[in-house]
């Protein structure tokens, strides 16, 4: 019986193997074609930033710059006050990120481990509702609130309203829900204070979440446009995104400057991405979050 079936099975396996190999080539080609399609706009943009102004609009277009130059970057550095906008953005992004991580961790822990309280569950539902009803929508009233709090045109106005993110709270909540309660019970029996349990035991355990949220939050704040737009009026307090928008919004766009400044504005995030890649592209943590 078995002798009869082994021969066709072997042939079958061999056929399957060649069939699989037949699938590898077209699928790999297709994937890399798509990848090229996704990468091309950025590559083209990056290469264009190294072209001198005269070459940018000169037909026929060439992929590689004929006379590579960094003149655009020098111009962005000198004339565009790049350093000022850069440090403004960095200060806002770093401060907000630290506060976001702390607030989200504390709140997420409370939502995960004190669920027997009714108000905790209600607050969690309220927070989830804000993903449906985002603040972008209520722009003008939010502006009035910021103005009435005296936060208009201040760093506080840029930082404080963006501290609370549902995504961050949700990430920590999901993590702490997965931590068994026994650990807390044991610490309680040993006489640890409730807040002590959080700061000394739970917070150190959540290090991967802290890292991921920190990177996400930094990216959100670095790339944020709408908050700085409504909070900041003084040009000296502009963040990079607002400053870039002011070049694009001009009657005649200074393309060499715009290309160079845009490329430079991306660099910090690229650096962070390269260093912390495993925290950013960790699908298990990322599932179900987006901002």
């Amino acid at each position: 019986m078995s002798a009869l079936t082994t021969a066709p099975r072997k042939a079958n396996r061999k056929a399957r193997k060649t069939k699989e190999l037949g699938a590898v080539v077209p699928m790999t080609t297709f994937m890399w074609l798509l990848a090229a399609l996704y990468a091309f706009p950025l590559v083209w943009f990056l290469l264009s930033a190294f072209k001198p102004g005269s070459e940018l609009f000169q037909y026929p277009l060439t992929i590689l710059p004929e006379n590579p130059t960094v003149a655009g970057f020098e111009k962005a550095w000198d004339r565009f006050d790049f350093m000022l906008y850069f440090s403004n953005t960095l200060a806002v992004a770093l401060t907000t990120t630290v506060l976001t991580v702390i607030a989200s961790a504390m709140c997420g822990y409370a939502l995960a481990k004190y669920q027997d309280k009714l108000w905790v569950r209600i607050f969690f539902i309220c927070l989830l509702a804000t993903t449906m009803l985002p603040t972008e929508v209520i722009l003008s009233p939010t502006f009035l609130v910021i103005r009435d709090l005296g936060m208009y045109d201040t760093m506080a106005g840029l930082v404080v309203p963006s501290i609370l993110t549902v995504t961050g709270v949700f990430m920590f909540r999901q993590f702490f829900v997965s931590i068994p309660d026994d650990i807390i019970e044991a610490a309680r029996i040993d006489g640890a204070r409730e807040t002590g349990i959080f700061f000394r035991i739970m917070l150190p355990m959540s290090r991967p979440i802290i890292m991921t949220l920190a990177i996400f939050s930094f990216q959100w704040r670095w790339n944020d446009y709408i908050w700085p737009l409504i909070v900041v009026g003084d040009e000296r307090k502009f963040t990079l995104q607002i400053a870039l928008r002011s070049i694009v919004g001009a009657e005649n766009i200074d393309w060499p400057l715009l290309l160079a400044a845009s490329v430079m504005s991306i660099l910090p995030l690229v650096l962070i991405f390269i260093v912390f890649q495993k925290y950013v592209m960790n699908e298990d943590i990322n599932a179900g979050l987006k901002d």
Partner: protein, 309 residues
């Protein structure tokens, strides 16, 4: 490490803290921990939200005392052709970009978990890279690609012998560019969510289907799609909400142009609220947008529930 530190400080034995203190602590701890978030939630969500609702019934301009004018703003709104234009433009954008985003991110995710593709880890980085790019810079990148007289796309089209297309001055083509740019920028994240979901589909299902002679498409259609249905729901919901809120990228790409033909709802709210200082009217638009978002969410939830039932 920290746990042992605590343990040495309070030696084993009878608890030092009396039961009542423990209970009070247990009551207070969640309040202390989430206090900051609650305050921020009240100040930056509930407060402006209620203000918006109240102001939508007034003629407030940011200064002076708001005067109650009943439903005037809403009546004006429903008779305003620019509002309808921006509403239909936003909906059209959502209807085009959400399916495209869904198909692209799911296909790419499927390719990235497939056994038949090579160089997956590097390709994943390439696909993920647009996530780093801010909406403003993404808008600039695509504006540069689709420039009418200098863009690469039109250069390619002329090289192929056709006439260059009016990507900036034709309203519909301009919207197409917005759709492409939005899909490009939004794929990365949805792709990650899908990869996680695809990896969770049990291998055995595919093996069983293969033995039964199901081809690749049948396997995808009858195993993969049903298995990742909850994720699909999440991605579609979040993308539709995101599409309705599109603002920054369009600002850099064409500023809602040509003219005002592609002004989306958030930009409309921003311009009436800030440039015209007509806060009452802008708040009324906000309330309508909130209703739309809520409807989208509820409809999709209902559809999702019916499918899974």
């Amino acid at each position: 490490m920290t746990a042992t530190a605590i343990r040495t400080r309070t030696p084993a034995g009878p608890r030092k803290r009396p039961g009542r203190g423990r209970r009070a602590q247990y009551r207070l701890a969640p309040l202390v921990l989430s206090g900051l978030s609650i305050v921020l939630f009240l100040v930056f969500f509930v407060w402006p939200g209620s203000l918006g609702l109240i102001y939508s019934f007034t003629d407030y301009t940011g200064l002076g005392t708001p005067e109650f004018i009943g439903l005037d703003n809403y009546e004006k709104l429903f008779a305003d052709p620019t509002f309808y234009q921006s509403l239909t433009r936003t909906l059209l954008f959502a209807v085009m970009s959400v399916p495209l985003m869904y198909v692209m991110s799911l296909s790419i995710a499927a390719l990235l978990v497939s056994n038949h593709t090579k160089g997956k880890s590097f390709a994943k980085v390439v696909f993920f890279f647009p996530w780093l790019i801010s909406p403003i810079v993404a808008g600039v990148v695509w504006r540069w690609m689709f420039g009418e007289s200098f863009g690469f796309v039109n250069y390619l089209i002329t090289r192929l012998g056709a006439d260059p297309l009016a990507w900036q001055t034709d309203p519909d083509l301009a919207l197409m560019v917005v759709v492409i740019a939005a899909t490009w920028g939004g794929t990365a994240f949805n792709m990650l969510i899908f990869i996680a979901a695809l990896k969770n589909v049990p291998r055995a299902y595919y093996e069983a289907a293969e033995i039964d002679g199901a081809n690749a498409w049948q396997r995808f259609r009858h195993i993969t799609l049903p298995s990742i249905a909850p994720t699909s729901f999440l991605v579609i919901l979040l993308s539709s909400l995101g599409a309705m809120k599109e603002f920054a990228m369009v600002q850099a790409l064409n500023g809602g142009g040509p003219g005002t033909s592609n002004v989306m709802l958030i930009q409309y709210i921003y311009e009436t609220g800030f440039k015209r200082a007509d806060i009452g009217y802008a708040s009324a638009v906000s309330m309508i947008l909130l209703l739309i978002l809520l409807t989208i969410a509820l409809v999709q939830m209902a559809v999702n529930r019916r499918q899974s039932a």
